[in-house]
Amino acid sequence: MIEIRFHGRGGQGAVKASDILAMAAFAEGKMVQAFPFFGVERRGAPVTAFTRISEDEIRIHCYIYEPDVLVILDPTLIGAVPLTDGLKPGGKIIINTTRPPADFTFPKADDPKVFTVDCSSIALKHRLGSKEAPIVNTAILGAVAKATNLVSINSIMEAVKEKIPVNKEENALAAKETYQKLQG
């Protein structure tokens, strides 16, 4: 079973991202589970969401304490919340940022593999959200597909189109672009 933990801020769509990733993996025949950290939703507040992907039935119903993958939708969360707690040795960290992977060190994590991509600019280019608050959840899923090989980019694009009610093509293309531009 692979466990993925999403960290974002209210309004960025972390919860939806966890759901779309599950949907894409399900389309490829996997068993899945996706759920938010059940807090009170406020724009800008730290948000956590979870996805589990497995070959077998998923029975567990608690939070993810030892993730294989971290997806960070907002780099300002780094240092602000204990992001890497429990990350498995050699775990992957995917960050939405303009900076290269070498700029990031996570002293508490054991040999993490860091990947970066500028999802915010790509989202804006596809007119997703505003300059102040780009909606990066669909974009970053392309990067997740590339960094983890858990699902194909096609499954991500199909799941995006199924789950997002408006600007379906733009959202899917944003995911495709981060898939191509991921660094790490």
Binding site: Q33, R59, Y63
Partner: protein, 382 residues
Amino acid sequence: MKKVLTGNFAAAYGATAAKVDVVSAYPITPQTTIVEILSEIVADGLLDADFIKVESEHSAMAACIGAQAVGARTFTATSAQGLALMHEMLHWAARGRLPIVMANVNRAMAPGWSIWADVTDSVAQRDTGWMQVYCENNQEVFDTILMSYKVGEYEDVLLPTLVNLDAFFLSHTSQVVDLYDEKTIDAFLPEYNPKIKLDVKDPRSFGALTSPEHYYEFSYKMQIAQENARSRIKEVSAEFEKRFGRKYDLIEAYRCEDAETVLVDYGTIAGTAKDAVDRMRDRGERVGALKIRYLRPFPVKEVCRILNSARQVGVIDRAISFGHEGPFFTEVKAAMYGSQIPIWGFLAGLGGRDVSIADIESVVTHMKQNEPSNIIWIGVKK
């Protein structure tokens, strides 16, 4: 057909698949999406049902009682304070022998104001005469709604069912759910046609003044109905397995055959406990888990059959009966009366506190190191 659905969607689709005639409900977090989805399904003409809008949960249950009494199959859903507000009507539904099915998203009672998982809301309705089921996953929510109509509608049962699902851990968690196909479901659950109903062409009196001459016998018959339900649940579960390939019963024993320690649990904690049991088994510890599905009718015989071969038993409750102990712990202890097997009562996860694999392992560790006691608070900050 398999889909990725939240528990609330599974509940709404369960009612839709049961082809209910009337839905009446009032929204409350975290149940809200059940009502939203059903109102859309009815408005879109995908379900030939009446959606009765009401101003409170008390009225929602009253509307279901009226509709069910004239022979309609009805559904409603609620949570916590909403269920508490229905309390009076719950007695009317059960004693009126109306097999209504209601989904209750288990949520903690306020104050402190909480929207998170806790079963105090449903346990507080224990003596209303409703059957009560606690679900582990979203598939079980969908399946249990279908089975509950079938069980409740037998002439020798005629009782309503409360189908419980944990707030957020099911209500807002997406999982794979098989929705089967319409034909198979229709063959399993035929139309509801009660012999006795409110009908101007066949006038009868319902809910009339009942003197001591008859009330005692009414109560006796309620109890007989609950006892009949035990065998009907087994029968319906067996038919369900034949048609849909999924096995249910009053309880579910997981790796209990040679277990020295058996953990008793219910709801989503039961799922996490299965993974915890596997981990402990990998370390050579002989641990099993017993999930209780039905609080009413309580499966006394089935629980004893499993626990009598254990050396020690620990019950994990997501609620407390203040001034006493965990409510399921009380039931299990009473069922085991006369047995010499030591039983511990644990509390965990009240008000939506996460219950991890480590928490469940700590229960077993505690039992190794301590004498039995009735109230052990897992992870409480004192």
